[in-house]
Amino acid sequence: MSVILILLLASLGVALFFLAAFIWSIRSGQMDDDYSPSRRILFDDAPTEDLNKKPTVL
């Protein structure tokens, strides 16, 4: 039953990782602007000049 302790610590570790990610995201200014990112992803890229290039196959 004491294996639960290890699981607990592991889950805490994972959660800590996410907390660190959260803090990092605030630090790098991601929380400053919550309007633009939602629009930005919908913008199209500039059309590529080289039409001879074959499109990459996923």
Partner: protein
């Protein structure tokens, strides 16, 4: 024959009246819009229009070519830059015209318009553009000119020069994150206890408890800092603010939990402790976010242009405003604001003092006369000899003047009442109850002490008012009424008497309705007059040109503008004169407002009479105000609009004309002395003292550039018609808070009933506390949104994008 077409400009969406230009199959209202379109087209950025049709900002008033030359001065430049090295420069600009995703698209693709731009990043809520550019290819002044040419002229003001950065609000986000993390994990750890499962393994139990302790430490030491510091500060002042019981509850719960852990009696109450901290922080973050979105406290200095041209030894050079000294000679161009009091030394001054007196008719000044700051020069450039620096100018004095004997608004804030009594009572109850029980059962007395402090948490009351205020302020801001702070909501709700300024508030600025008095002009004459009027930048001429629809076909030679008299020129060989009445008719005409007389080839044809155009929405708005408020109109203008105003206000308002700024202030003071609560709605610097004197001062703005400091709220001119609904919403605010007050009081009484008997477990208290907070939160948030919806005020989340 009406040749006006009602098509919309493809770029900015303004109606194209008469004079239109085309490019391909697209119609534009002016050359400016057309040039922006062609820039975008050539750079392959026409997706701009796909995101939002007609997204462009209208460029009807072209930017002067050397307007940004002052940015070549390295000293001024230095103050605007963030960073510079050999490869590039980074600068940030405030661009108020950013309003939708198309603006975002265009500006972030600026590098495709000009190769000198390396990258551009937009912070939408702050309307800030951070541009990284190569200053060798594209110097700062050309970059700014490029932005202006696209319709996104950055607003550069003195406050930028002072580099006053708003305080970083990041710390509270960290605290919130940590609190949430710890709270969630502690609750997880406490699950077995919630379900009443008694494990056999004591080691595991201890392990869980100690992990909870470890998790609670960062919350106590880091996340709970705001409360401890606030409580400490208030105790030092001899007051018991609301933060005191909160801080005590947190500290006591923690202390008791540690003790019980150590004594082995229970697992401690870390979940309740971290829960308190988490919920209270969440409320504060929400309020802060709302507040930050309204960048309000614009310095007074932000109204003046940031630099002026100084003449020294015959050389003209730009100088930033604080550098202007007495006896400096300044050159003021057409359209520029006069930045300091001075004596006119060269040129004919025609100054538009509409911001000071309300009259848009330019005031003529001769050489040697004193010219006061705050007006705008219209006409050719003038030179003035500075006699008083900005800090002492007439306008600053007007603004700085706090009316003698102004009474402070009594602090009716519910929260502050709580500050003084609630905490004290709670503490008394806690200590008293604990003392009572200590004679019978020590265990119980500890219970009483901590649970009373936890359960009787006024944080629900505090939260409800913060959340409701924040939500209401957010809804109002969506509808373009920006409040300075939450206290303004109550001030608005308490209004008895509403005072309107006339010029700019009741009338739309710029849009002046005119009619021609005289035999109707022939088609040819209309074109002649329009062509001449289009040559001048005088506001009356511009209005005439707009009205008649000038086009390019007519050549104007020998154009001369005599400020105060009018303009003349030869249009297609015929002499056309516009302006003051010729001597022959001067006696016959009575001055009834603004008039521009027309003569062609020395034949008098009649005159244009300008009626100031009252906003269409006035009637609807006033219908919501009659019988509920007393109304007045104060105007600095002459009384020639009195009958019209009486009709609009259905004789239910008091109208006063020729009011100087101090007259308005005195009128308000008289009303206040008779016990009325006054709301003043006006604009411009001349109303600044009156706005401050009134209990609520609302500044009406038609563009983002001209903030009036010391007003309590800014209202966009388009939203003026919503005024009755705004007031209703604010009134609902106090009702909602009262309702949640009552509800949380019931919670408290019920909780205290059990807590004082010592039979309430801290765990139950801890669950009850966030549960009550949450329910009250939902109640307040929900009802304020509901009220807004009922009043048909848009509360929909469109970000800050108005046209999305």
């Amino acid at each position: 024959m009406n040749t006006r077409s009602q098509t919309q400009c493809f770029h900015c969406g303004e109606p194209c009246t008469g004079h239109t230009t085309r490019l391909g199959d697209k119609i534009f209202c002016c050359a400016g819009c057309r040039s922006v379109y062609s820039i975008l087209d050539n750079s392959g950025l026409c997706a701009y229009y796909r995101f939002n049709p007609n997204a462009g900002n209208t460029l009807a008033s072209p930017v002067k070519k050397d307007k940004y030359d002052f940015l070549t001065d390295p000293k001024i430049e230095q103050q605007l830059l963030n960073y510079r090295d050999d490869s590039g420069t980074q600068a940030s600009f405030y661009i108020p015209q950013i309003h939708c995703s198309s603006c975002l698209y265009l500006l972030e693709n600026l590098h495709r318009v000009n190769a000198g731009v390396i990258s551009c990043n937009i912070n939408f809520p702050k309307k800030q553009a951070t541009i990284h550019f190569n200053h060798h290819e594209l110097p700062l002044n050309e970059l700014v000119a490029l932005l202006a040419a696209l319709g996104y002229e950055p607003y550069i003001s003195l406050s930028d020069l002072d580099k006053k950065k708003p305080p970083a609000a990041k710390k509270i986000l960290y605290q919130l994150g940590v609190a949430g993390f710890c709270f969630g994990n502690i609750m997880l750890l406490s699950f077995p206890e919630y379900l009443g499962l008694q494990g056999d393994d004591p080691l595991l139990k201890d392990a869980f408890h100690y992990i909870a302790l470890v998790l609670a430490l960062p919350v106590l030491l880091f996340s709970a800092q705001p409360f401890f510091m606030a409580a400490w500060k208030s105790i030092r002042q001899g007051l018991f603010s609301i933060d005191v019981p909160v801080a005590l509850a947190i500290a006591l719960t923690f202390g008791r939990s540690v003790y019980e852990l150590y004594a082995g009696t229970s697992g401690g109450y870390f979940d309740s402790m971290t829960g308190i901290v988490f919920f209270m922080l969440a409320g504060r973050v929400l309020q802060q976010k709302t507040y930050r979105a309204l960048s309000f406290e614009r310095d007074y200095t932000a109204y003046f242009p940031v630099s002026v041209t100084r003449i020294s030894n015959g050389e003209a050079s730009p100088v930033s405003l604080p550098g202007v000294k007495v006896n400096d000679t300044l050159r003021i161009h057409h359209g520029e604001l006069i930045a300091a009091d001075g004596i006119l030394t060269r040129g004919k001054a025609m100054i538009d003092y509409s911001f000071v007196t309300g009259e848009s008719m330019p005031v003529t000044k001769e050489m040697g006369e004193i010219v006061y700051a705050g007006g705008r020069q219209t006409g050719s450039s003038i030179e003035i000899l500075t006699i008083k620096e900005v800090a002492q100018s007439y306008l600053t004095a007007l603004w700085d003047k706090s009316a003698p004997g102004k009474k402070e608004m009594p602090e009716k804030d519910l929260v502050n009442v709580l500050n003084r009594y609630f905490s004290g009572i709670v503490l008394l109850l806690a200590v008293g109850g604990a003392a009572y029980w200590s004679f019978y059962d020590t265990y119980r007395s500890w219970n009483v002490l901590t649970t009373v402090l936890i359960v009787a948490c006024p944080c629900a009351l505090l939260l409800s008012s913060s959340f409701t205020n924040a939500n209401i302020m957010r809804i109002l801001a969506r509808n373009k009424l920006y409040l300075r702070n939450a206290a303004t909501i109550e001030k608005i709700a308490a209004t008895d008497h509403i005072i309107f300024d006339k010029t700019g508030t009741l009338t739309g600025s710029g849009q002046q309705a005119l009619q021609f008095i005289g035999a109707p002009l022939s088609q040819k004459n209309r074109h002649l007059v329009a062509a001449l009027a289009a040559q001048s930048l005088h506001p009356l001429s511009k209005a005439i040109a707009l009205h008649l629809g000038a086009d390019d076909r007519y050549q104007v030679k020998g154009f001369a503008e005599e400020p105060g008299k009018g303009i003349e020129g030869f249009v297609n060989g015929e002499l056309v004169q516009l302006g003051a009445p010729p001597v022959s008719v001067q006696q016959a005409v009575t001055t009834h407002g603004t008039q521009v007389h027309v003569s062609v080839e020395n034949r008098y044809l009649g005159y244009f009479n300008f009626h100031q155009h009252f906003r269409d929405s006035l009637e609807g708005m006033l219908n919501g105000l009659f019988n509920r408020f007393r109304l007045s109109v104060l105007s600095g203008d002459t009384g020639h609009e009195e009958p019209k105003l009486h009709k609009i206000f259905k004789h239910q308002a008091k109208l006063l004309f020729r009011q100087q700024p101090h007259d308005k202030m005195n009128y308000i003071r008289q009303l206040q002395e008779s016990g009325e609560r006054v709301m003043m709605i006006g604009d411009g610097l001349n109303d600044a003292a009156a706005l401050q004197q009134a209990d609520t001062g609302i500044a009406v703005s038609e563009g983002n550039h001209y903030f009036t400091p010391a007003s309590d709220a800014i209202l966009d001119a388009e939203s003026l018609k919503l005024l009755p609904r705004f007031i209703a919403l604010c009134k609902a605010n106090s009702r909602i808070i009262l309702a949640s007050f009552v509800l949380s009081l019931l919670y408290n009484i019920a909780g205290l009933y059990f807590a004082l008997q010592g039979i309430l477990m801290p765990l139950a208290a801890a669950i009850l506390m966030p549960a009550s907070s949450l329910s009250i939160l939902l109640l307040t948030y929900g009802s304020s949104s509901l009220v807004a919806r009922k009043l048909r005020l848009s509360g929909m989340d469109t970000g800050n994008g108005l046209r999305d």
